[in-house]
């Protein structure tokens, strides 16, 4: 038997006294697609980072083709043919897409390089993998999903022997995810070893051959996908039997509208065309559209990020004069969960407690002085509500795993007890267990009367959680699905234009 292309033996890693990886041993064969699963904070990203040379392990060995190697830096890992897409996007904002795709691999001749050759190279890679991206745009003008696609292209374009993908589909629509999974299958057929980290079990069960499960830094299962079931995997992740999935109740009758949007128009890209809708008291309204259709612009507008959008907004019967800035949205009683937690949502230098209380600090203070006990209580409650896994409320947000950061973000907005809750990708990177908990939490808030607008690229989330689902296409509302369920999925996708 030939040596696996990548293997680790007895890997260990600690942050301070916190053991993040403990005695992890596994192997990845050429042409194998393997899934790495685990709850938020289980250590998946850490393992991937160790394999990518981005983080040094404390103990254990890494072997490439059976030979022990020191992956002392990403450069060394790349030289061994290991490419990596990190969970948190890492790109150069001011450079163009083409330059980001070819980062570190500029076409060169005697130290010189040329912009035209670079663009040709990037275009060729994009063409080969079937990605259509605005190659000449600066990276920071792209949407999150586009940026994710660039990152994927960047890694794939390296023609590596091993590719580590850390939740690449968390921010992608099902169309893009599907595309990626196909590319992955193609890569495996060509002998590339793929390590795939995801919280989307359906993807894993469709695209991967083997599965590894991490729990609290221990590898608790390694088996062929065929030998297990989603339920079994979830039990491995949690370390106990999982609850039965409860379809969210939506027995409420249609109630009076809390949020009314009338005639939203936007000339720029993506445009909006006469978008109007209501969200009732206690209703969760889903907006679904393919990337660039305009759904996210609607959410951002309600969050106060698009002063250029015209139209009328009414909250609780009183018109909102202007949504020129986020503060105005907050004052109108709208809480907004932005899509990109790292650049828009969280200050990574703050402790968990202060991040959770960020929006309600005024109400937790007297004469400008924060009542720290009350703050602690409130933050503790929120942390429990969102099922946060942290070492304590004093831990810095930047030290949390990606999924847990997301929970902090959602928690900080829920803290407002808003009349209107606008969510963009609320469970981006959150594990299955916690995802369901967040769904329940959102449902509970709705039952208490919160009007919720949900914008998600995850079709499953959209149909499961929404009381009503609007499909946005080319900036306009094209159809409405009252009470969608999993059977509506393909209809929704059709309406959105993703299946043409």
């Amino acid at each position: 038997m030939t040596a696996p292309v990548l293997a680790v033996e007895a890997l260990g890693k600690s942050y301070g006294r916190h053991r993040v990886l403990d005695d992890v041993t596994f192997r990845l064969a050429a042409g194998e697609t393997t899934a790495l699963l685990g709850e938020n904070g289980a250590g998946k990203s850490t393992l991937a980072k160790v394999l990518a040379g981005a983080v040094p392990p404390d103990s254990g060995r890494v072997l490439v083709d059976g030979n022990p190697v020191q992956l002392s830096s990403p450069r060394v890992a790349l030289e061994h043919g290991i490419a990596f897409i990190p969970q948190e996007l890492v790109y150069v904002p001011k450079l163009t897409v083409a330059e980001n795709v070819c980062l570190g691999r500029w076409p060169r001749r005697a130290g010189f390089t040329s912009g035209a050759a670079l663009r040709r190279q990037a275009a060729a890679e994009a063409e080969r993998l079937g990605f259509d991206l605005p190659l000449d745009h600066a990276m920071d003008t792209l949407t999150l999903a586009q940026q994710q696609m660039v990152e994927i292209l960047k890694a794939l374009a390296r023609r590596s022997r091993v590719i580590l993908l850390d939740e690449p589909t968390a921010a992608l629509s099902s169309h893009d995810s599907e595309r990626l999974l196909n590319v992955m299958t193609g890569l495996a057929a060509d002998g590339v070893g793929v390590l795939y980290i995801s919280h989307r079990l359906d993807e894993v069960f469709r695209a991967c051959r083997t599965v590894h499960v991490l729990r609290n830094g221990h590898l608790v299962r390694s088996s062929a996908v065929a030998d297990t079931t989603p339920r079994g995997v979830i039990e491995d992740m949690l370390g106990r039997s999982a609850d039965e999935a409860v379809a969210p109740t939506r027995d409420r009758a249609w109630a009076r509208p809390v949020l009314s949007v009338r005639g939203y128009e936007r000339a720029g890209l993506p445009p909006l065309r006469d978008v109007s809708f209501d969200v009732g008291e206690g209703e969760i309204l889903g907006l679904y559209g393919v990337r660039g259709a305009g759904a996210e612009v609607i959410a951002e507008t309600l969050g106060g990020l698009h002063p250029e959008v015209t139209g009328e907004t009414t909250v609780d019967g009183s018109p909102v004069r202007t949504l020129r800035r986020p503060l105005a949205a907050r004052r109108a009683g709208i809480a907004y969960v932005p899509a990109d937690r790292k650049s828009q949502g969280l200050a990574l230098t703050l402790p968990v407690q202060q991040s959770l209380s960020m929006l309600v600090l005024r109400s937790l203070s007297r004469f400008g002085v924060v009542a720290r006990r009350r703050e602690r209580t409130v933050a503790g409650k929120l942390a429990a509500d969102v099922h946060l896994r942290a070492r304590g409320l004093g831990q810095l947000v930047g030290e949390l795993s990606g999924g847990n950061q997301q929970k902090v973000l959602v928690g900080s907005r829920i803290a407002m007890r808003p009349k209107v809750l606008v969510l963009q990708e609320p469970t981006r990177g959150v594990d299955v267990g916690a995802r369901l908990e967040i769904h329940r939490l959102l449902r509970r808030l709705a039952d208490d009367g919160t009007a919720t607008l949900l914008v998600t690229s995850d079709i499953e989330e959209a149909v499961n959680l929404s009381d009503r689902l609007l499909v946005i296409r080319d900036g306009a509302v094209v159809s409405e699905f009252p009470r969608p369920d999993f059977r509506s999925q393909s209809d929704v996708l059709h309406a959105a234009g993703g299946l043409d």
Binding site: I234, D243, A245, A347, L361, G368, R372, A379, R391
Partner: protein, 333 residues
């Protein structure tokens, strides 16, 4: 898909350990303080004149002008900014103070005038940085030129000695034989410490410094917070100018022009990050004291002039380097 039970093993928001465990910032502060102690021990072993209460006061007296400036600088740096203009505001404060004293406004009247003058400069800085969105380094480099030039213009290029040499009360010793301006420094330190730790404003500062965009999306008035920060910084610098004038019994348009870089050095040495969102009063004070003690100790030891300059640089590097050793290298910037 199946659901998990709501209780997860270590969802422990109440975990007791974290309150007592050293976090990175505190640890850094402890290391720096140890470094300061090391310097003190070294100089004490070299000179009998060093480790005396008189000399301790000496160091404090010398450090208090830059200390007051550094408190304000700490605010700007924590908020992700930078205030070089204090190099002009300190002399401006000194000149205005001397003028007002000589015009018979009394110490309190003159102080009020100085604070107002400083606040105005700071307000302008704040507007430029927050509203015109100009990089704070270049903005305050420019306003440093303006305020410095103003100081010289007001003084018409000459020094303004206090008409009544008895009016240097800010520099006089009072309670426990400690100079008034040292009390001012301590008082302000306490105020800023409390403000940073326990007030909404302090929280906003750290949030804005940690991630401006996230702060804005959270509905924090980022512009207002930023403007206030510069107002405070300039008011502190202006006050420091009044202290300096009181020490010299003269308002000089050229005194204190090195306070910009000096205060930035002290604040960063004290553990703040130029990226914003990190830093605090204890660290800043330690930073100020390290620099002050070093200057004092070397002068007492009669270290030749140029070697003092070199040694200051080396020790600065050592201090920052040592306090960084334990730092996780994970994030680049």
């Amino acid at each position: 898909m199946t659901a998990a039970t709501p209780t997860l093993p270590d969802t422990t928001p109440e975990s007791r350990t974290s309150r007592f465990a050293l976090n990175e910032g505190t640890l850094r502060g402890v290391i720096l303080a140890a470094f300061l102690v090391l310097i003190v021990v070294f100089f004490s072993s070299r000179s009998d004149a060093f480790f005396t209460s008189d000399n301790a006061l000496n160091i404090l007296v010398n450090a208090s002008v830059i200390g007051i400036v550094s408190l304000g600088q700490a605010l700007t740096i924590i908020s992700g900014g930078f205030d070089l203009s204090v190099s002009g505001t300190v002399p401006l404060g000194a000149v205005v103070y001397a003028l007002l004293l000589n015009d018979g406004y009394g110490v309190f009247g003159a102080l009020a005038g100085v604070l107002v003058a400083g606040a105005i400069c700071g307000f302008v800085n704040g507007l430029i940085v927050a509203k015109a969105n100009i990089n704070p380094l270049i903005a305050t480099l420019a306003t440093m030129s303006v305020t410095g030039g103003l100081a010289l213009t007001i003084a018409d290029g000459v020094q303004i000695p206090f008409d009544d040499p008895e009016q240097g009360v800010l520099a006089e010793q009072s309670l426990f034989g400690v100079n008034n301006h040292v009390w001012i420094l301590l008082g302000l330190s306490l105020v800023v410490f409390v403000a940073l730790r326990y007030t909404v404003f302090g929280r906003y500062l750290y949030t804005v410094g940690g991630n401006r965009e996230a702060a804005r999306l959270a509905g924090i008035r980022v512009d207002a917070v930023t403007t206030w920060v510069y107002v405070f910084s300039a008011a502190f610098a202006s006050l420091a100018g009044a202290v300096l004038a009181s020490q010299l019994l003269t308002g000089s348009g050229t005194a204190g022009t090195d306070s910009g870089l000096q205060s930035v050095a002290a604040v960063i040495l004290g553990g703040a990050s130029l990226a914003g969102g990190v830093g605090g009063v204890p660290g800043t004070l330690i930073g100020v004291l390290i620099l002050g003690t070093l200057a004092n100790g070397m002068a007492i030891m009669s270290v030749p002039a140029f070697y003092q300059t070199i040694a200051t640089g080396v020790v600065l590097l050592l201090a920052v380097g040592i306090s960084q050793i334990r730092r996780i290298s994970r994030r680049g910037r």
